[in-house]
Symmetry: C2
Subunit: 248 residues, 2 copies
């Protein structure tokens, strides 16, 4: 059977999702735990290959197994074999042809910025500390320009190899609660580093180095150098994925 | 001059506030950084000697110094010499007889409980994960019984040596936001482990093992064995201290 996992992790200590020789990765750690649990080799297919230091509340991965453990029990047994910074939130059987990257889906990411005079140590692992005062109203205006189907070439790391840089952003909200500013982006899929470049660009707007209406020209320019810097990985959390045609 | 520091820390990697030989402590780390910065020996007087694994947003400490660095600049220079899990939020001169434990003050603590089916890795360091569903309304009723001036002997670790176990709790609020339940307690001072025993007792109420009105008898009994267990340190954060007679 094919089993889907929803996986939460604190990415601080990992070199991202994808297996790399000699590196501690989320995929590698999950795979080792699955092999130990199931006694068979498994191949994981991840929905989102998050970068070094990026966190998740519900990244999705699937694998095929001959186990007789019921699919919905696998998460409990697997969590016993995982370190405390990776916790599987759900396991369930899906159809044999379900593929988390080929199915159309809606992904949500949050970028968290701690905007105050001094850092707060307990928030240092999953927020980006930024000292200069940010104008949240300006960031909200700028975010509105990102919503829609656009060529997001300006918001894609230059070394990414993709067929098209056109993507659809369903929603991009900037919210403030006390010192914490959250950029929440929902879309049908994202380019490499896209959410971090969006966050870095909105920060430029927040400090007044760019104007909200500049976003339009940045998108139209299709040039990475027009957008702001890639914001640090620690502020980014993949919130979750919903599949449009949930085949299970 | 006498200088007051407000200190935030992630207590996960520390054996509490107070200096102990051969252990990594908040006080010891601060003191080493101060000596390196000021080039003179210093004695720190802390307001709250938090336990191993307990966090803070604003614990207070004072020390005397002959330095010519302006008091309000010390925090910036000190933070350069501190690890990222300790950040001084403020430094300022206070009167020479100001003592953070002898001045009457109001202290606020928060105990955070993550109440859901599975832990969230990014919250594991500063929340206590509790699986069984908690009845927040019952916890709120129970919390109301704790407000006031009472003999809190039932809420004090038995090995504590104090002159009196009478304390005044100004406020005790239980709030829920999604899966996160926060117990916020404000008082004129607390007994050893008092907030963690309050949290552990409110959890017993939340799961139905105790009734809200049992709190009255637990207080009146003056017996530690009547109250619930001491909740784990990781969930506790000292929020801050305000001094009634701020002499500065």
């Amino acid at each position: 059977m094919r089993v889907l996992l929803r996986v939460a992790y604190d990415g601080t200590e990992y070199c991202g999702w994808q297996i790399q020789p000699g590196q501690k990765t989320i995929e590698g750690t999950l795979k080792d735990a699955l092999i130990a649990l199931l006694g068979e080799t498994v191949e994981l297919i991840g929905a989102s290959r998050t970068d070094t230091g990026v966190h998740s509340l519900g990244n999705v991965a699937v694998f095929d197994t001959n186990t007789r453990i019921p699919a919905e029990k696998i998460c409990y047994a697997l969590n016993q074999r995982l370190p405390e910074d990776i916790v599987v939130q759900e396991s369930k059987e899906v159809s044999a042809d379900f593929h988390p990257r080929h199915c159309s889906s809606t992904k949500t990411y949050e970028y968290r910025i701690l905007n105050r005079k001094f850092p707060i140590p307990t928030l240092r692992r999953d927020t980006y500390f930024y000292y200069r005062r940010l104008d949240v109203a300006a960031m909200q205006k700028a975010a509105a320009y990102l919503v829609g189907t656009h060529d997001f070439a300006s918001f894609c790391s230059v070394n990414a190899q993709v067929q098209t840089t056109v993507r659809t952003v369903y929603d991009c909200q900037v919210e403030q609660k006390d010192d914490l500013i959250t950029v929440r982006v929902t879309g049908a899929g994202f380019l490499y580093n896209m959410v971090r470049i969006i966050a870095g660009t909105l920060i430029q707007v927040g400090v007044g180095a760019m104007q909200p209406e500049d976003i339009r020209a940045i998108i139209e320019g299709c040039d990475r150098t027009l957008a702001g810097p890639t914001a640090p990985a620690c502020g980014l959390t993949m919130i979750g994925i919903t599949f449009d045609e949930e085949k299970y």
